[in-house]
């Protein structure tokens, strides 16, 4: 894993915060407050996902994951992954480690890409809210097309990466 990326992020982000603090104390404090709030907000789902990953990797042998989600599993695995991603309601930030753990255990790129793309773009749980604000045509159109494009993106990624 690219730890260089992570540490340069620390330097950039905290550098920016430092500059902000020098120029505008109140704004920097507000930024820190929002940062703490988002961290605390995501912490429970992060813990749950991390625990789930631990269980998954510790109990389910990689051969099983590979058999059901790997390249040999066929299109149904990719379709199922996209549908699961579409109805799952977790912050997308914690979806990435879950996807990474499955990928490392033998799931195929296409299946993981379908899951992630559907997870971030399709919101089944929030659909009523979306309809209320944007109308049925736009909300349903956006979600259905997002699901469709999740497959397209997954297929292309499966061909490009391996």
């Amino acid at each position: 894993m690219s730890s260089l990326l992570t540490w340069s992020m620390y330097v950039i982000v905290f550098g920016a915060l430092g500059v902000l603090a020098l120029r505008d104390r109140a704004k920097a404090m507000q930024a820190v407050k929002v940062a703490v709030k988002s961290f605390v907000g995501i912490f429970p789902s992060m813990l749950a996902i991390v625990g789930l990953i631990g269980l998954l990797l510790g109990v389910v042998p990689p051969q099983v994951i590979s058999r059901y989600l790997g390249r040999g599993a066929g299109w149904w695995a990719t379709v199922t992954a996209a549908l699961i991603g579409a109805v799952m309601y977790i912050p997308s930030l914690v979806g990435f480690p879950l996807a990474a753990s499955l990928l490392r255990a033998g799931a195929s790129i296409a299946t993981i890409a379908a899951f992630l793309t559907a997870l971030v773009m399709v919101g089944t749980v929030t659909l009523p809210l979306e309809i209320r604000h944007l109308g049925k045509k736009m909300a349903l159109g956006r979600n259905l097309l997002s699901l469709f494009f999740a497959f397209v993106i997954a297929i292309v990624m499966g061909m490009v990466l391996r």
């Binding site: 905290f14 820190v32 631990g54 309601y89 993981i112 944007l134 109308g135 045509k137 956006r142 494009f149």
Partner: protein, 201 residues
């Protein structure tokens, strides 16, 4: 898996009676964690040898998540302070064409909240006269191409995975917006109850 319903997060904590509500709220927030803990415990009773790798995997991913989430959270805080959400509506609502699409992207990449936080903004944009194309691009960028999210994706799945998915998501968002715009035009306009514009003077 929903640990925070939109309504709860959007309105924030109730000011009165908060002291008695905290344990209940805490229990609601951490119910999945508790469930996993119970599963771990059951596993320990049933198959003690399996628990060590489970805990090790959990711990490894936990450390990795905390390491990446700290700068991501600070980045979100910086965005929140530097890019006020009212500003998004102000500029996006009046632009159109490629410039509008470009601005939709720009604003979509910066925000901090989950997707449902973008719905009211998107609704407001529609009523201000932004094109459905722009609004769809804005929503999908917000959903899929937020900078903090890309950093997490690169960290866990590798820069190549992140870049290829990004390169595919951008044109998809535009095509999607265009298709939805055409469909809405052909079927007689938006079907969201419009807020009547103020009478022109």
């Amino acid at each position: 898996m929903n640990t925070s319903l939109p309504q709860q997060t959007l309105t924030g904590g109730a000011p009165q009676g908060a002291a008695t509500k905290i344990p209940k709220q805490w229990l609601a927030d951490y119910r999945w964690v508790l469930l996993v803990a119970v599963a771990d415990l059951a596993l320990w009773l049933w198959q003690p040898t399996l628990v060590t790798p489970v805990l090790k995997n959990t711990w490894d991913y936990f450390v990795e998540m905390v390491i990446i989430l700290i700068p991501v959270a600070v980045l979100m805080g910086l965005f929140e302070v530097w890019v006020p959400k009212q500003l998004i509506g102000k500029y996006l609502g009046r632009e159109s064409g490629w410039k509008g699409i470009a601005l939709s992207f720009l604003f979509g990449t910066a925000p901090t909240g989950p997707l449902y936080a973008a719905f009211p903004i998107a609704g407001m944009l529609l009523q201000k006269g932004a094109s459905p194309l722009n609004v769809v691009v804005f929503l999908n960028t917000w959903a899929a191409i937020k900078i903090p999210q890309l950093l997490v994706e690169a960290r866990f799945l590798g820069p190549a995975f992140m870049l290829v998915r990004l390169a595919l998501t951008v044109p998809s968002a535009i095509v999607m917006g265009w298709l939805i715009q055409k469909a809405i035009e052909r079927t007689g306009g938006l079907d969201v109850a419009p807020v009547k514009p103020e009478v022109a003077r």
